[in-house]
Symmetry: C2
Amino acid sequence: MSEQIYVGVDLGGTAIKVGICDAEGKLMHTYEGPTEVPLGPETVINNIEKYVRHIVEESPYDWEQVAGIGTGVAGFTNVKEGIVILAPNVGFKDVPIRSILEERLGKPIKIDNDANVAALGEAWSGAGAGIDHCVCYTLGTGVGGGIIIGGKIVQGFAGLAGELGHMSVIPDLEAIQCGCGQMGCLETVSSATGIIRMAQDAVDRGDRTSLSLVEKLTAKDVIDAAKAGDEVAARIVSRAAFYLGKSMAAIAVTLNPERFIIGGGVSKAGEFLFEQIRETFAKLAPEPVKQGVTIVSAELGNDAGMIGAAGLFLRS
Amino acid sequence: MSEQIYVGVDLGGTAIKVGICDAEGKLMHTYEGPTEVPLGPETVINNIEKYVRHIVEESPYDWEQVAGIGTGVAGFTNVKEGIVILAPNVGFKDVPIRSILEERLGKPIKIDNDANVAALGEAWSGAGAGIDHCVCYTLGTGVGGGIIIGGKIVQGFAGLAGELGHMSVIPDLEAIQCGCGQMGCLETVSSATGIIRMAQDAVDRGDRTSLSLVEKLTAKDVIDAAKAGDEVAARIVSRAAFYLGKSMAAIAVTLNPERFIIGGGVSKAGEFLFEQIRETFAKLAPEPVKQGVTIVSAELGNDAGMIGAAGLFLRS
């Protein structure tokens, strides 16, 4: 029999990225086209179908070689039923995407949310390749996560495992309310949004910082200022790093993973951020569960979604 | 073929409990004999062999029906290699118990630590029967734990998953050092030892409490006093309950389990304790991950170890 290939679809609000992977998680061909959210779910689904057919046609592979098509969606998904429950960025609400795509494409379809799929991609052929137990953080607008045990995504009872941004790690005295309604969630300090919020607070209260000269603050501005020696900015980045390390210590005693993988925009701060996370983790995790544990940067960047989506067939 | 049976061994410091289970986790026969730790590991292993052969002989089953023998040990175990690394209560250090017992008994042997095995027993045929994702706490001298995902024990990278007693959940301002060296571990307040320690502190500093009249404080004394309306005792029990609920909120966002199961001596405090745990969990866990989640008492008591050990063959 000829080699089987797996198609991964990363369904985002702006673009649909489609990739072809082999059985080892190697991304061999990619294609990207507009999602066209304003035209409605029907158009978005048509586009997925079109781009998937297109990439296979343009590739050296035959349609018969496609063993399955996985799709990662930024939103709440019901993995078992194959339904996108709510994905505001894509304009989907209760869309039974699996059955629709299965009928149109005549191939097995699997879906999952973007954080899980990105985690699986990294675990499969990125920073977690060869590692059975890893926990992935995505530091972006929020803090997302994905838990990989025995090489597979942990879904949880209601498909909500890996909501690491909502672990309450901040002491009451300094906690603020999170968008989720709870107090002291990790996301309130370790996301890009959290970093910008802390910086804006500092500027507003008149702290002496170079950030007060910046027109529209971004997390990158804060990180760059911190690296350049701005003390106020450095404290903010340290705080983001500290609570990440603290949450990892809690996860270490629960799951004893071998590797923590951190991706997303904020992770681009690089070693400046990672060293502080590792320091906190080393300080707060009990001796046995931190032995041999590594905290590393994600490697696949924006490809993680496509690769992980393709991996849903081999690793879930 | 005749029905297969599974033997579970609960290897403790005082007694070795042996049970026969069917493939559904029903405990059908039990036998208990002394461990005889002072006579050395050789004698302890002889006893295991003797008791296992004895219970099968006395049962209506034939030796041929024994599909496997599982053993739970209070200590550090290397599950993959089948070695008890360190079990002070049993006097074992680097004992390759699996290969020894396999040679002597001519049956497949599996081992795991007592907390994992008890969790598996509860998940299989106790308070977690029919539940795929559950997290078990054992509140005894320390706080032990076991994580069951997809009906199976999560081991972690180094076999240390489920060390829930060492999750740091207590704010710095009120944290004390744990035996593990870290500050603020759950175990420092929610174990029997923690409850006794808090009560002794209260007595020593002259708090007005009925506990000052008790000769040698036990956790039961503190719980009974709390139930009887002693305010100092009530605060201590509330504190134990609060941090349990807080740790569950952290686990809920990480793993999204369906059920938390609490066993061990302290759990005998019953609804008085459970209501406070549920209240805290409901307050601290974000809405979606707490929906449908239950917090219940363990059901199997001391049988959990035997049943879970037998279950290692079907659920690991």
